[in-house]
């Protein structure tokens, strides 16, 4: 029994030491990234921030910093990729919007806006709030609506009925958005072209016919994938295959 107790204590100390050291390393890497960035060593900064991201940290600010570092380093495709990733997490961040618009202005290919303007108008909050914020808003609205309906059942107050239904409608809107976000994450994959120039081909070999050329930073939709290739969709009629290494997935 004593041996068991000692084992548990040692394991706990080890766990704390290991996790503490990891946290400290990540912080150091993040601070290094800032330091390198300020020293205009953008490649090192990008590498430092990438180390943090590779450790599994999924944070909009971190991704924003990565976008900045890659942009300053002249790697436009990677900059767009990380800004797009950051937008999934902090779509309402003004700095991010500014830098994202700036980087889009540098892209050679005219963007194909897959989202219709009407969709953007109808689901405007999707582009103003993060996915987490939309989830919690939906949960809270649902809670308020049901709470009011419960009060209406218990106290039989008809006055509560109208605001309850109002909350319920809003809750339905936000919950629908959440489900759409889940659907989008699971089934609609988007990627950014990373090399300076990529030939989109008709087949899965390098000898296949070049259909069209995309340049770094261009955003595409991924329709299919196999071991080494993505079938991408750029716009109407512009479909073809590119190597997986030529595109970065937006997650």
């Amino acid at each position: 029994m004593k041996t068991m107790k000692h084992f548990i204590t040692c394991m706990t100390i080890l766990f704390i030491w290991v996790t503490g050291a990891t946290a400290s390393e990540l912080t150091m890497a993040f601070l290094d990234g800032i330091k390198y960035y300020k020293a205009e060593e953008y490649a090192k900064a990008a590498s430092a921030f990438s180390d943090v991201a590779d450790a599994g940290i999924k944070n909009g600010k971190l991704f924003y910093n990565l976008g900045n570092a890659y942009l300053k380093n002249g790697r436009l495709g990677h900059a767009v990729l990380w800004y797009e990733r950051a937008l999934r997490l902090i779509p309402d961040d003004p700095d991010l919007k500014f830098n994202h618009e700036y980087v889009l202005s540098l892209i050679k290919d005219e963007p194909d806006d897959g989202n219709l303007p009407i969709f953007r108008v109808l689901f405007f909050w999707k582009h103003l709030m993060s996915a987490t914020a939309i989830q919690w808003t939906g949960i809270m609205l649902n809670l308020f609506a049901l709470l009011m309906l419960t009060i209406q059942v218990v106290r039989k107050k008809k006055k509560v009925k109208t605001p309850a239904y109002l909350f319920l409608i809003l809750a339905v809107i936000f919950i629908s958005t959440v489900f759409y976000n889940f659907y989008e994450t699971a089934y609609i994959k988007e990627a950014v072209i990373l090399p300076e120039q990529v030939s989109v081909r008709s087949g899965l070999t390098d000898n296949s016919t070049e259909l069209f050329v995309l340049h770094t930073g261009t955003k595409v939709k991924i329709e299919k994938e196999n071991a080494a290739f993505f079938r991408i969709f750029f716009s109407d009629g512009k479909i073809g295959w590119i190597k997986k290494s030529d595109a970065g997935i937006i997650y």
């Binding site: 990234g33 940290i57 999924k58 900045n68 700095d95 049901l146 059942v153 959440v178 889940f182």
Partner: protein
Amino acid sequence: MKRYPGRAFLIIFVILMLPVFVQAAKIQASVDRTRITKSESLQLTVTVVGKDADVDISPIKDFQVISKGSSTSVRIVNTQISREVGYNYILIPLKEGRLKIPPLTVKADGKTDQTREIVIQVSKQAQEKLDTQDVFVKAHISDRHPYEGQQIIYTFTLYNAVQLSKNARFQEPDFTGFNPKKVEDEKTYTTILSGRQYSVVELRYVLVPLKAGNATIGPAVLRCDIVRAQKRRRRSLFDDPFFGGARLEPRIFKTNPVAVNIKPLPVYTGGLQFSGLVGRFKLQAELEKKELTVGDSTTLSIAVEGTGNIMDVEEPNVNVPEAFKVYKDNPEENVRLGPKGYAGEKIFRLVLVATKAGIYALEPIQIAYFDVSKNRYADLSTPPFQVRIYPSAEKDDIQVYASPKDEQPPEFKKKKVEFTGRDILPLKEELDALESQRPMSLPRFIIFLLVPFFIYMAVKAVFMFIVKQEDPRSLMAERGDRFLKKASHIEVSADEFLSCLYKAVISAVFSKAGVKGESLTTAEAEEILRSSGYADETAKQAAQLLEKIESTKYSGLIISSDSKEELLFETKQLFRSLF
């Protein structure tokens, strides 16, 4: 006094009557009109206040005199009684011209007095006798031969010697060919024409002829009612017009049309440019400072003053040396419309900013206008000005930006803000960038949604159950079931069996009505079931069963087991129909 009461009364009477006798005789001669034609006559009345008098009419030579007798009237004013005797004569003129009724000698109360002389104008033909009428109107124009652009005054005059009602309506004349402007101030005064006093009202219009040629100003029309005293003998104080003894006489007065000959302006042959001004004008100029330093400013004020179309004057041409930048101020206009037309001044101000040192001359400012008083063009000129500009101690060549020529205030056109440099915004250095922002997983999200939903459903179910329990329908249905079950037990007595059966049926019927109750008539039971939507057959069946149970219960007969079975069966059948 007691011994002579009659004497005392006499003294008092004499004292009271004294004012009558001591009043000096007042003598006055008046005529009903002063202008007549040779074929007309007039009435002369010599009024004497006091006793009867002798009037000597022998001095009247120009008229044939016919005596029309005398009239006497007594007046009481402030407890004083006065007697008035009027001696009336009809006078027929013997010739035309300016005839005189000389002073007449009147002897009254031993005294001799004379009336005043009266002049009568006797014309040959019957004509409109304006100034002998109670009311008449006239139209007058200040100049019948004006130049085009010259302002003239049209005057409408109302002469009124009697009382007019307040509803007078004036229709202004047709001023076609003129630009009319009414002078708002009406002129009112009194005047005496041929011995009669008239109230006069004048309305004035300033007219500016628009083009040369003959033009006619149409007649002005005045509609009004004249207040006339009723022509009846005054019987009392209340026959006075003041107290309603008057009538309104509607009248229309019309002026004669006025013909105007508008002359064209002569061709200007002078060396200047004609300013367009017509009237009488003066030109003045003033320079604020004549010694300046580069960068300093001075104001040149040019004032055009006079009577006429002053408001039309444009800014005079000013030749300013290149050493000045010119800023034009909005002109100040002070023009009034008075009885003589438009008059006033217009002041132009130029701000001159010195830009180069030196001595400079400002040339005289000149304008040409048409002088209506001299019937010719006239040139106005200001004296020249000399300005000395000293170099600036700070900067010799000062940059001055002049305002646009059109004198509009400077417009600040809003400009779209453009980027002057391109860069991205800086890093985010907060350490919360190391915290993962993973959105909630789908199952967790659904749980968060469903938990309150289930709580709500549970609460609702509980409350529905509670409500159901309190519902009379379910309570009575349950009671009916309970009594039916009790009746089904073999060991119950006959009375108890019938009572349970009765209660079971009653409860079943009440449950359908949704109310609680203990007893019902057969008719009520039938009605409840019908109104609850059951078929007539079921309602009747229930009513018959209830009647059967009641009759068995209250007949006192011993109920057989077969009858019990039959009743129980029928009741159960009814329950099956109802539930």
